[in-house]
Amino acid sequence: MTLASDHDTAPQVGDLAPKNSLPSGETLIRGLIWAVVLFLCLTPFLLVFAISFGHKVEGASWVWGFSLDNYKRVFVGAEWPDNVTFLYLQKLWYSLYYAVIAAILAVITAFPFTYFMTGLSRRAQAAWLVFILSSLSLSEVFIVMGWDVLLSNRSGLPMLFKVSGATQWLKDVGWFDTLRDWGLANPRNVKFKTSVFATVLTMAYLVWPYAVILLYPPLSRLDRSTVEAAQTMGAGPWTVMRTVILPSVRLPLVGSMLLLFVFLLGVYVAVTVFAEPAKQTMAVSVYEAVRGNTLNAPFGSAQAMILLVTAAVFLGLGQWLSRRNA
């Protein structure tokens, strides 16, 4: 495989690689690089694919095989056609649901921020970028820990609501019952854990810095003179936004949402901590099957493959959109 590809990469005119070196040595290096990349970046995915057709045996082990039972179980349940259950499709649905809302929320709030940031001096931009990148690289476990402290019932926001009298006020004006209907309050006080709200909030927070980084290149390359021209001609800020800025960054906006969405499909820690047990996602289910309680690696692999295909479809969609509009 590697040798065949080497012929495709025959040196071209203007080649910068040393021409006097032994061709065999160069071929060797190129073959080695191909081997390393294929081995490290492709085989793990191929293994997941292959194992998804196997089946579990007694104990925690599994054997190779070729059956579509694992996929059948994901889509219609193991007892199909006698009994149909959409339990795992529901998990996939929650994966998509959380990811869509969080991605849109992150991009909508990051967009004005990034636009303002790119209007600053280059030094100020660099300082903001340091801050953004630091929070971007902060581990999911720390972020979840922070929000957990902020949202947990005995400290943080619920406590603040109670002490400040906001809870009493909510009860007085009658909004408290609405919050209870939404699952954001227990009889005594507001509660955010566990709820869809907390899950989506943490997930949006998780990708917010990514949204800024993704929107930064198109917004910083935006031609500010057209904005100024529109302003001179008397366009208000909203008109400028609607007619000049948004049309020119529509594509990066959609592209960023897609990328963040794909990223959020795989979120694990935030969902386990903040989502209700009945509303967990496919990523959590993959974990349960491969390392958790159920220990059924082939079934976990099948779910991982479905997650992967979903991600790939949306990444492909993004590629297609950008190419069509290029």
């Binding site: 990349v37 997941v48 690289s137 820990m145 499909l265 990444l315």
Partner: protein
């Protein structure tokens, strides 16, 4: 004037929102008791001593994190260089495919890559060894140095290369005297991006460590069920300080806006 105030207000609010959970966690590190309170009760620095010196669990985890981060970032740079170089100098279909393959682990959900790597290392009988973790992270974060080095190579002025060639420099000499010096800042940035993200990574490490060793993020996740202790918050502070220092250094010595995709600075 009004718009300006609103603008500043919005940015300040975003920054506050972004810093809020970090501040809460950091504040909790000062608690003297075993429970996380915010604001902290009886502030003390005893937790810092525990994290860095006395509690072996955390010291071992921190050492493992450092080994994995430094070694995997170095390995990622080493693999990324020839990929980026081939992409820049040849730009053939094959080198594009290769670069695409190299970026795949970073672009797809990490939980799937983690599960796959878990199988791979189990087959080879090395699941749970620290160096398997190093190689895993190198593969996962290969895309980062690949991107920064590519940006660096693209920013080289082709006129310099032509000049070197006209003056009779061999490709090897050109590489050493023109290409390498101009790309070193970008290579270093790629290294540090990979380093910081590896330091903070959780899910892939979770699958490839197979509970036989733990890094700081794994250790924190393990402790999630037993409730938080203020010592964990010290870890969070350490991480954020490391990130700030690293990115601050990149901004100080390199062109951070350019690395992030802004137009080259006008001088």
């Amino acid at each position: 004037m009004m718009a300006r105030t609103l603008k500043t207000l919005f940015m300040a609010l975003s920054a506050l929102m972004l810093a809020l959970p970090i501040m809460v966690v950091s504040g909790a590190a000062l608690n003297s008791g075993r429970t996380m309170f915010f604001p902290p009760r009886e502030p003390t620095l005893a937790r810092f001593k525990e994290f860095f010196i006395t509690e072996t669990v955390w010291v071992t985890a921190l050492t493992n994190s450092m080994i994995v981060a430094f070694a995997s970032a170095a390995l990622a740079v080493l693999i990324a260089w020839p990929l980026a170089y081939a992409l820049w100098s040849r730009g053939t279909k094959a080198s594009q495919v290769l670069a695409g393959l190299g970026s795949m682990p970073f672009a797809l959900p990490p939980i799937v890559f983690g599960v796959g790597l878990g199988f791979l290392w189990a087959f080879l009988g090395v699941l749970g060894s620290l160096w398997a973790g190093v190689v895993s992270h190198a593969a996962l974060f290969l895309a980062l140095p690949l991107v920064t080095i590519s940006i660096g190579l693209q920013s080289i002025d082709r006129a310099h290369l032509d000049a070197a060639a006209t003056m009779g420099a061999t490709p090897a000499v050109t590489f050493r005297t023109v290409i390498l010096p101009q790309t070193i800042p970008y290579t270093l940035s790629g290294f540090f991006f990979a380093l910081v993200l590896s330091f903070n990574e959780f899910i892939v490490m979770f699958f490839v460590s197979a509970s036989s060793y733990s890094t700081v993020t794994l250790q924190i996740f393990n402790s999630l069920r037993n409730g938080y202790t203020p010592t964990m918050a010290v870890a969070a502070i350490t991480f954020i300080v490391v990130s700030l220092a690293v990115f601050g250094a990149i901004a100080r010595f390199g062109d951070l806006p350019r690395l992030m995709g802004a137009e080259p600075a006008k001088k």
